[in-house]
Subunit: 214 residues, 2 copies
DNA sequence: TTGTTAACTAAACACTGTTAACTTAGGGAT
DNA sequence: ATCCCTAAGTTAACAGTGTTTAGTTAACAA
């Protein structure tokens, strides 16, 4: 037998080819700069072939992002290793900013684009809340650690609210850099300085007055 | 004589018609959702007529944004009236978040889209640095006031760096809301709570430890 | 050898932003 | 009154987009 299995393997191979070609174009040209025809040309299939594997252009790139969400969570897990909860949150923030500035096109599509609300599919459900592949879950875990350790001011107990605020802070730095970083209108300070002050300021604002010296 | 003047007036009238039609579509459909042909249809001109007034689609919407940059600065000036520098910065932040959440499509185009770098034109030069029409200049002015009043920690003296960090903070809240606010992946807290905590936290992080009670 | 299935393709549809070539209306000068 | 010219506006087309419909082809199962 084994025919079905081979067929499936072959199909998922061309699926991967599509993903690889799309990723390459995507990284250098961004979402709008990639056309289904160009992807098809690279893998030497007809444009229609892509639609046998993905419902539309958006689903194709959502799949690409799934991989990157997981990659980000992995980087978090392998790098955010400080034992001090606040120091760890600072590490997470720095890693996040590094990720965003190194992969601006992915970042744009992952976090700066309004995507039509879609019902969570199987892949989503596997990832949501699992810190190993869900970067938000990892951040929330780290925030909860800090709450439990009493690192924050006593009235700050909602791990989701704190996580969303920390996320917004670093997201603000990255997304402003990507969207307006080469705008002459503003006399931009170096990105590293802005990132540093943001992390410093936000965490200082979350902890009790005496906890941070400086 | 006066012929030339009438001609110019007529031309700028159809120019305004184009801008009005474009704005209406833009507000409800966003940049990608607006086509030159639909704009033309509304004002009952041929699509090509638009190109007599604007070099391309992007210039048309840049013009729209110019108006909104100025509008934002006006709202700042008329509303951010507290005499306490820190309280005023909090007001500015709240106004900015309100502006962004009430005009998501404009906000997206103004601050979440990478636009090709363009040499500042006459209109730009008129606006840059003028707090009456340049919202960033207004923010920087308010920050400088706080620096001069000794409201911040003593090592914080760079008004540009502080402004850019404050901007990034509120921008993070809005842009994350616009891009991911209806995403099921995250258990979002109410926007008002996130905005409040962000402003509270950031300003607390900028001032000396004893300056804010709570 | 036939029938079925599933991968794949060619051609077309309905769009998009933009441009080149043409028309036309209005005023100035002879 | 006639000519000319300017500039606003139009028609038709180009080159591209995402996507769909109908058809082909190749490989396996019966």
């Amino acid at each position: 037998m084994g025919v079905k299995e081979r067929r499936e393997r072959e199909k998922s191979e061309t699926r991967d080819k599509i993903l690889d070609a799309a990723r390459e174009l995507f990284v250098s040209e961004g979402y709008e700069g990639v056309s289904m025809r160009r992807v098809a040309e690279i893998i030497e299939y007809s444009p229609t072939a892509i639609y046998l594997h993905f419902a539309d252009k958006e689903e194709l790139f959502r799949e690409l992002c799934h991989q990157d969400y997981a990659r980000l969570a992995e980087v978090f897990q392998s790098s955010a290793i400080s034992s001090d909860p606040i120091e760890r949150l600072k590490q997470i923030g720095a890693i996040y900013i590094e990720f965003g500035t190194r992969n601006p096109n992915h970042y744009k599509f992952m976090f700066m684009t309004t995507q039509p609300v879609h019902e969570p599919d199987e892949l989503d459900r596997e990832m949501i809340g699992n810190p190993e592949v869900d970067a938000y879950a990892f951040l929330k875990w780290a925030v909860q650690q800090a709450v439990d350790a009493g690192s924050f001011r006593p009235e700050l107990t909602d791990a989701d609210l704190i996580s969303q605020t920390l996320w917004a802070a670093v997201h603000g730095v990255i997304s402003l850099q990507i969207a307006k970083g080469s705008d002459q209108w503003v006399d931009w300070r170096p990105l590293a300085d802005r990132a540093e002050l943001m992390l410093e300021t936000t965490l200082r604002g979350l902890v009790p007055p005496q906890k941070v010296e400086g």
